[in-house]
Each structure stands twice: as structure tokens, then as C-alpha cells.
């Protein structure tokens, strides 16, 4: 008789039926023709800002060796549109909806978290602390451990929802930031956002991205993210969501073995629109083939 496979994972008080979810900014309701959203562990729309925001100069994406750089600039119609239109567009799907927040200041994070925390359709908040702190020195909130700690603890005061801190990899010590977020009251850590990068066309001598620099994603970044997951798992007991460069089930498993409880998949969907569900199927096949009945047994199982 076949044993029942357990793929459920926990992100704070939130239970996901499986560990595979989209990465913010690389997923939208438009993709429902390509995949069955009901198979996903969670639904995670693009980060939203408080006010409508136009986005950055073009080109907004460019290709690099085994990856891409993007500088979209959180083109957002604001939180009102998110509440009135985006959230309802996912209403008919079963997986919990995680709202990703980008803000210019700690006050704005708090304000948006209060509003979203009171919305019955939102099951968790992901705080995109990789965006620049415009009231501070303009560098990302998540680059400074005390700013990270302050941000998370202030948001913690206003909502009971599980809080995921989406860390930036553009730091000297991801461990310090992870500890600061955990102490601030985060329920989970997303490791990580994109790596700040740049590419130049040698013929025109111009940057390939309109905004000069942008965020690097895709398979080329995966070893860096695996390393960071491993490092964070050593200093934090929080569940980790691995994100960066996953193209297939084995890539996702690598992050789980390094210490991630769940994974997010972004760029891979641009190449294979069914990537999210393909990855889930590949993980399940692996579990069966390796006679593992509970995915949680694999989390952090790396042998060093």
C-alpha cells in the first residue's frame, strides 16, 4: 500500500499544502491559462506600493549568461486598486494569498500592513525590505540590521498575520540581518530577493537596463542563494523560503536540503509557463523515489 505523502509545510501559523509558490513580480492572474493555481502552495502577487507608481525606464529587462536583470520599479496601481481589483481576481482560488508590500518608509510599511492585515482575503504578509528607504539614506531597509529590526517590530505591533521578511542578498552578512528580522518578530525569512547587477553593451557602451542597474535572477544566482539559505539556517530557527534561480524540482530540493521549508519560483515561469506545477510534481516524484513520506524530513538535511 502506498503511504500518504505529506507535502504540507508551515510558515508561522500558516499551513501550506505544499512548499511551492510563485515569487513576487513574476506571477499574475494572467497566468491562469498556463497553470492550475489551485495546485500552488500559495498565491503571491507582485509587490504593491501605497500610491500608484509608474515604474522605471526601458529596457526593463535584459538577458545575461544563465539569467536576467530586471528593473521594473514596482509599477503598481497602489493599495486601493490592490484591494478593489487584484485581491478579488484571486478570490476563486483555494491557496492562501500572501500580499507583498513595498514601501518608502517604516511608517508606510506599518500603515499598509494594518490595512492588509484587516483584509480577510490576505493570509500572510511578505515585507519586501529590499526596496530603498527613502526617508533614510536611500539604501534598502534590509541592508541595515537595526533598520530591519525596527521595521519588523513595528509591523509586528499592528498585525497578527504571519510576517515573511524578504531579505536582500546585497549585504555583507545575511546572518546578521536574519537574526535582526527574527528578533523583530518575523515568522519566516525569504532568502532572497535579486542581486544588484549591471550589464553593458560593449558596442554602444550603454547599460542594457534603462535604469543602469537592476536585480539579477535566474539559474546563475542559485549557488549564492543556496549558500545564504545554509548560512541563515545555522543562526535562525525560523522557516526559510528559498528563492533565486530555481528552474526545476532538483533546484528546489537543493534549497530545501540546505534549510528551506518552502520555495518561490520566479524567472523560471518566463521560460516555462508551467514551471511552478512541474517543480511540484518533480519534488513529489523525488519523495516517492527516495521513500520519504514527509517533506519536512528533508528540510536542512544537508550532510556536511
Amino acid at each position: 500500500m502506498m503511504k500518504k505523502l505529506n507535502t504540507e509545510v508551515k510558515i508561522g501559523t500558516l499551513t501550506l499544502k505544499n512548499p511551492v509558490m510563485p515569487a513576487s513580480g513574476a506571477f499574475g492572474v494572467e497566468m491562469q491559462d498556463a497553470i492550475d493555481f489551485n495546485q500552488l502552495g500559495a498565491i503571491l502577487p507582485k509587490s504593491i506600493t501605497k500610491y500608484p507608481q509608474p515604474g522605471n525606464a526601458k529596457p526593463r529587462v535584459c538577458e545575461t549568461t544563465a539569467g536576467m536583470i530586471n528593473s521594473i520599479g514596482i509599477q503598481s496601481k497602489g493599495i486601493d486598486y490592490f484591494l478593489s481589483t487584484i485581491i478579488p481576481s484571486f478570490d476563486t482560488f483555494e491557496p492562501p494569498l500572501i500580499a507583498s508590500i513595498s514601501a518608502d518608509s517604516i511608517e508606510e510599511f506599518v500603515e499598509m500592513s494594518t490595512i492588509l492585515g484587516n483584509n480577510g482575503s490576505v493570509s500572510a504578509l511578505e515585507l519586501n525590505i529590499s526596496c530603498p528607504n527613502l526617508k533614510g539614506d536611500g539604501s534598502a531597509f534590509g541592508m541595515d540590521k537595526s533598520v530591519t529590526n525596527k521595521l519588523i517590530s513595528e509591523v509586528r505591533q499592528v498585525t497578527e498575520l504571519p510576517l515573511i521578511a524578504k531579505l536582500t542578498p546585497n549585504v555583507t552578512s545575511i546572518q546578521e540581518i536574519a537574526i535582526a528580522a527574527e528578533k523583530g518578530g518575523a515568522d519566516a525569512l525569504n532568502v532572497a530577493n535579486t542581486l544588484l547587477a549591471m550589464a553593458i553593451d560593449v558596442d554602444s557602451k550603454r547599460p542594457l537596463i534603462g535604469n543602469v542597474m537592476g536585480g539579477f535572477s535566474g539559474p546563475a544566482v542559485k549557488p549564492i542563494i543556496v549558500r545564504m539559505i545554509y548560512q541563515v539556517a545555522q543562526v535562525s530557527s525560523l522557516p526559510i523560503i528559498g528563492c533565486g534561480g530555481i528552474m526545476n524540482g532538483r533546484d528546489a530540493l537543493e534549497m530545501i536540503i540546505a534549510g528551506a521549508s518552502a520555495v518561490q519560483v520566479g524567472t523560471a515561469s518566463f521560460i516555462h509557463p508551467t514551471a511552478l506545477t512541474d517543480i511540484l510534481n518533480e519534488i513529489e516524484t523525488y519523495l516517492i523515489e527516495h521513500d520519504i513520506d514527509d517533506i519536512n524530513e528533508l528540510v536542512g538535511s544537508v550532510i556536511v
Partner: protein, 260 residues
């Protein structure tokens, strides 16, 4: 929109810089319209990484054809695909051109590989017994692709090139106003492939009150409307609105687009 592995029936160089590919698309469960495009995986590798958008050049009952310029990594990889191989495509994507059967004569203004996109319009127009007049602009005479293909559909083709010193906007404008408008009543202008010619087509459309449609090109990420990489501005009354070329275009009303 779906992802398919389609058998390649032909992949052949047609001029110095251009290739022609025919794929068997009999598995598609929806029709393909002129102006729509496919996202092509040029090679099953991580480099080149992203898919490449190519519009449909010819639409047949069981096959779809592409005409592509060999530009960089992706299209160079595409030239290595051989007859009998399969190609991974996603599509058809985007909104195509509207070709209303009540029209009698239409004008196509194409620059370079823009003709690949407009050739499908000529084909559809022919099937609807609409007469086509086309201006094809290119760097060299060799790059004037598909002229014979258009002529085969009964189109009157005007060719302009840098090589002949005939492709400057002033000359194209004079061909349109003096020769074409003198001979025909144009019901709609279709354009693709050049910013300068699109601006000219836009002016003609406004000044002579002729409707027009334009197919835009932007660098794309997902091509499914999710990532907001391929945006452009269109006028919505007096306000500019940001739209996604992949799902709200690539075809837009000519007078509404803000040509940068």
C-alpha cells in the same frame, strides 16, 4: 496561450541576414491572427536564456511561418535548428490586427523585418479581397524581403532603401501623398518596424483622417502580462496610460501610441 513542441518543417536562410522557418502547428487549439506572436525558445539551454518574440509571417491551415533577422545570440541559435527538429513555442500571444472586410484598399508601411509582421496582414487582406499597397523600406535591396510574396497577393509594392538613397522620411512621405494618395483611397494604414516611419504614418493618419494600426516591439520578460517589462504609453483621451505590449498589444491604434 500554451506551450508546444512543434516540428520544424523548414529553416532556411533567405538573404544575408534573414531566415525563414516553417513549423507544423496543427496541434494549436486556437486560430492565429496577423499581428499575433509566439515566444520562441531558441535553444534548450540556459544561455540564451529568455524566449524571443517573433510575430507570425504567414498563417496556413496546419503550419505557421516566421521570418527572422539574425540579430544576436538567440536568433543565431535558431539558425542551427534543422528540419525534423522540434521547436518550443508559446502562443499565439497578444492581440492581432483588425482587418475589416468592408475595406477596399489598405496601406502597409514596413521597415526591415517589420515586413514579417505585415506580410500576414497582406495575406489576410488578399483572402478578404482587400487590395494592398505597401511601402517596404530597408538598408539594402537584398534586405527588401517578402516583396515578391506581397506582389503574389496582388499588392502594389514601393521599395525604398538606403542603398538607393530613397528611404529618407521626406521621400517616403512624398511617395505616400503624391503617388499613393493620388491613386487610391486608403481605408487603413498598418505599420511596423521603424520609429521614424511610424511617426510619419501617424502624421498621415491624423492629417488625412485615415485610421491606422501599429505593431510595437519591446523587450519582454514573461510575455504573459505578469512582469511589466514590455510597457509603452498610449493616450487614453488626454491622459497617457502605461500598457503592456505583450497582452494589451502588440497591435495598437496608430493615433493613440506615444512614439518615443
Amino acid at each position: 496561450m500554451k506551450q508546444y513542441k512543434a516540428p520544424v518543417l523548414l529553416n532556411q536562410q533567405v538573404s544575408n541576414r534573414y531566415w525563414h522557418m516553417i513549423v507544423n502547428t496543427s496541434m494549436l487549439d486556437q486560430s492565429v491572427e496577423p499581428g499575433q506572436f509566439f515566444q520562441i525558445r531558441c535553444a534548450d539551454k540556459y544561455t540564451p536564456f529568455l524566449r524571443r518574440p517573433l510575430s507570425v509571417y504567414r498563417i496556413n491551415e496546419h503550419t505557421t511561418e516566421f521570418l527572422y533577422l539574425v540579430k544576436g545570440k538567440g536568433t543565431t541559435e535558431m539558425t542551427t535548428i534543422e528540419q525534423g527538429d522540434t521547436i518550443d513555442l508559446m502562443g499565439p500571444l497578444g492581440n492581432g490586427f483588425q482587418i475589416d472586410s468592408s475595406m477596399k484598399t489598405i496601406l502597409l508601411v514596413a521597415r526591415g523585418v517589420g515586413v514579417a509582421t505585415l506580410a500576414a496582414v497582406a495575406q489576410a487582406a488578399y483572402n478578404k479581397q482587400i487590395h494592398c499597397v505597401a511601402i517596404l523600406s530597408a538598408r539594402t535591396k537584398e534586405d527588401l524581403l517578402a516583396a515578391e510574396f506581397l506582389e503574389g497577393f496582388g499588392a502594389d509594392v514601393y521599395k525604398v532603401t538606403e542603398e538607393d538613397g530613397t528611404s529618407d522620411v521626406t521621400n517616403v512621405q512624398s511617395i505616400i501623398t503624391n503617388e499613393i494618395f493620388g491613386k487610391y483611397k486608403i481605408d487603413c494604414i498598418y505599420t511596423c518596424g521603424s520609429r521614424r516611419l511610424s511617426k510619419l504614418a501617424q502624421e498621415m493618419s491624423t492629417n488625412y483622417d485615415i485610421p491606422g494600426q501599429i505593431a510595437l516591439e519591446e523587450h519582454m520578460g514573461c510575455a504573459m502580462g505578469a512582469c511589466f517589462a514590455c510597457v509603452c504609453d498610449v493616450m487614453d483621451g488626454d491622459v497617457t496610460k502605461s500598457v503592456r505590449v505583450c497582452i494589451e498589444g502588440p497591435v495598437f491604434p496608430l493615433r493613440k501610441v506615444v512614439i518615443e
